[in-house]
Amino acid sequence: MSGFETYLTSRMTGPDSHTLASYKKHGGYVALERALKEMQPAEVTESVKASGLRGRGGAGFPTGLKWTFMPDPAKDPRSRYLAINADESEPGTCKDRVIMDEDPHGLLEGILLACYAMKCEASYIYVRGEYRHQYDRTVAALEEARAAGLVGKNILGSGFDCEIYMHKGAGAYICGEETGMMESLEGKRGHPRPKPPFPAGFGLWGQPTTVNNVETIFNVPFIVDKGPEWYRSMGVESSPGNFLVGISGNVNKPGVYEAPLGTNAKVLLEADHFAGGMTEGRKLKAWFTGGSSTGMMPGETVDVGMDHDSVKAAGTMLGTAAMIMLDDTQCVVRAMQIIARFYDHETCGQCSQCREGCQWLHQIFKRIEEGQGRDGDIDLLTSIGNGMAPGKTICALADAAAIPAHLMVKHFRADLEEHIRDGGCKINKTGKCAAGHSHKAPATEKAEAQA
């Protein structure tokens, strides 16, 4: 139907796709068995390195290269861990959820292969607190795998031992930051750690640790099974393979789709086998390329290849490839205010600039949205953003909060100026958007209800 090879979603075929039986029917755990019997750990790493797989958690770092940062076990006898980041909390992102729901064994096999490659004795899956169903599915799969001798001691009679532990988060966005996640796993507040030291040298409980995203690890069994050459035949040179793109907002068919990296965003938005166009054929006003942290781009920029380098060249990031599409009945200032509120709520509060800056940005966007904007606010927004990032804080949350503000000023300055000049939002003043939803500021709505 789509003219490209799919593999990520190939096993998500029926109501029992999450079971071991279904997984095995689709050739599951074959790659693991072959790797354990025929491949040296270094060969697995080499294979992943040669495939060009890039991390799907947002930063797009080459996965194989990351694995090689782990110290040589001959020289460093400490315990080694793999931590799986399943704290999928970037607004708009819901791809890892699909994997844990529909194909948890694929994740487990990927973990076992990665642990074999890096000689990790255990892996921890840190699952977002709200993902209860996904957690339960993965736990059930883990129990099945353990019963089948695929997890634990002497896996498939190969002498390789690997334990997998599940951990539930408590709903904090910052615990999706890799060092914040490790702190949380250790039972502490999820305050990101200053780097260096990096996780490969000083990770979980101070031991060498690699942190990978769910979707990243999910790719590994396919690479081991079919080889790096096959993998490189999909996607683009700098970002090979397929990815899961989550499309939400004012589109006809919101959902998670598999596509080769580099697929044009316009195709993803408009093609019938993807999102199927904007609702009621309306105009795309603004879109997020990959979750809220990547900021809003004007609708005209949608003609861009969805791979790390192309999106970067367009002025933002691929992020988690969670596209949020806003049509022209939406108020971008209001959308920005909601994003700013999110970061104000979710900053861990460690670094001065981030703690105070996130709050400040939110306060200003809220004022502008509610008609209390002032001359000078726009320049102040830019200045606050410059004070927070880049690279001025312990982790990248300050950057994630500042980038949307910068892009807002860069691309939607006219909307901000209009709000300041007109004392609020036109869309708000008419009361309802085309979909019939109220777009009044909550405070106004509350006051009216009381009156």
Partner: protein, 479 residues
């Protein structure tokens, strides 16, 4: 050692310490809130940003407390970009700060004020409402927390975790609603709570005994040595307008107490603020004591002592080495043994600083030839004597509750004694009013300086003792 260049100066520094520590050693001041040399650096306040160039790469602004020094590193703490970064940081830090400096005990020694001045960050651009949090959170006997003033540097949290090893504080809440609190709101415990107010770089943690007692710029600060145990922590004695000691704080001493001191020592200052102190001499007159000049009291004492055959001398463990030398001369002239009263060890001993031995100069006195004796044994001795001289600060307190029989007593203390045999009381200065030396449990010298002048009628102990020795010689010679 690693060679780096800071502000054009070549330095050889310890590579195991962060860049900010290297700057400290060279006397180059880098602003800091969360960094404290006695605590693990966390790099969260970001005020210590300086310009760093490594390996010939273009310079970057980095937090000096989390930057490892490397060979050939070039640092400029005064670069325009570094000042800009620090100004930005201050604007953020002050965004929700209540700016209640006029009623804040920290004002005058607050680094929010100092760095704002230094970096010329005079006005913030925020017009948003400031956060309103709890301004009076009682954290126990010693500390009051003002959550509005707090900048969340977590020095207090780390002090509890790393120094006392009793994690009792934490930051709770998220983001700009974060605040410092104790676990389950329980009061703080332990003998080191006062240090929390020292490590707090702003006015968030204040000492309850010091709240609203003085403006710090009116305090005259003198370095001295703590009197409360044989550790002899280096301290700063802070006196308001030549009157009361308002505060005692630790002074960094790498050999003795690092940056810390215990609350027993810190809050011992009421002992030297005694309004009822003796300021001259007293001599026996019938059943009562009569106020006289110090000179008259000394002459009376000389008469009493020369007229008795069996007399002895007991020194206080608070005597300085210098005073002990003078006591020795008097003792030798009396033919008395050199004894000092050694109170029993108390239960304040801990793993950190307090030794449990309430004698600040035990070692100094022992080296001067004095022998320790318990107050009870000394009292038994005194009952068998005709006369006894009790010399030094707090000596009368050490004999409190002991029966001294009917022997005649001559006392040198900051207060008087009303025991039946008292013949003469001579006033002496408190330890904060004299210069001298104590030797601590490990043999380190602790210096006392004059933090406050003693009243004009109170002479140094060396002098009054000397006068007594002379007067006794005259009296004995029938002059």
């Amino acid at each position: 050692m690693t060679k780096i260049t800071v502000n054009g100066r070549e330095l050889e520094v310890d590579a195991s310490k962060p860049l900010i520590a290297a700057c400290d050693t060279a006397g180059i001041d880098v602003p800091r809130y969360c960094y404290h040399p006695g605590l693990e650096p966390v790099g969260s306040c970001r005020i210590c940003q300086v310009e760093v160039s490594e390996g010939g790469r273009p310079p970057r602004v980095m937090a000096a407390c989390r930057t490892q020094v490397s060979e050939g590193m070039v640092v400029n703490t005064e670069a325009a970009v570094a000042h800009d970064a620090r100004r930005e940081c201050l604007e953020f830090l002050l965004k929700n700060h209540p700016l209640d400096c006029p009623i804040c005990d920290k004002a005058g020694e607050c680094t929010l004020q100092d760095y704002s001045f230094q970096e010329q960050q005079a006005a913030g651009r925020s017009t948003e409402p400031r956060a309103t949090l709890e301004k009076r959170v009682d954290l126990g006997e010693v500390i009051m927390l003002d959550q509005e003033r707090c900048i969340l540097c977590t020095r207090c949290v780390r002090f509890q975790e790393e120094v006392t090893k009793k994690p009792e504080l934490t930051n709770a809440g998220l983001a700009s609603n974060s605040y410092i609190t104790t676990f389950a709101g329980r009061p703080l415990t332990g003998n080191y709570q006062g240090n929390l107010a020292d490590v707090c770089p702003v006015g968030a943690l204040t000492l309850k005994p010091f709240r609203f007692e003085a403006r710090v710029w009116n305090l005259e600060k003198s370095s001295s040595t703590c009197a409360e145990c044989s550790r002899g922590c280096s301290i700063s004695v802070e006196v308001l307008r030549r009157g009361d000691v308002k505060r005692i704080r630790p002074v960094f001493n790498p050999d003795v107490n690092q940056w810390w001191m215990c609350d027993t020592g810190r809050f011992s200052f009421p002992k030297v603020n005694d309004a009822e102190r003796l300021t001259g001499g007293l001599i026996a007159s019938g059943d009562d004591l009569m106020g006289v000049t110090t000179g008259e009291a000394i002459r009376h004492a000389a008469t009493v002592l020369t007229g008795t055959s069996k007399s002895a001398l007991f020194a206080s463990p608070f005597l300085t080495v210098e005073e002990a030398a003078e006591v020795k001369i008097l003792g030798d002239s009396m033919g008395a043994d050199l004894l000092f009263i050694s109170p029993a060890a108390n239960d304040l001993k801990d793993d950190l600083l307090h030794t449990g031995d309430p004698c600040p100069n035990r070692k100094g006195l022992e080296q001067a030839g004095f022998r320790a004796i318990s107050a009870a044994d000394a009292a038994t001795m005194i009952t068998g004597l005709d006369a006894a001289v009790l010399v030094g600060e707090r000596i009368l307190k050490l004999f409190a509750g002991h029966n001294l029989g009917t022997s005649k007593l001559v006392t040198f203390d900051t207060s008087a004694c009303l025991a039946s045999g008292v013949e003469a009381c001579i006033a002496i200065p408190f330890y904060v009013e004299k210069a001298g030396t104590w030797i601590n449990v490990d043999g380190n010298v602790g210096l006392l300086t004059i933090a406050r002048p003693a009243p004009a009628s109170v002479a140094p102990l060396e002098r009054t003792l000397g006068e007594l020795t002379t007067a006794m010689a005259r009296s004995g010679a029938g002059v």
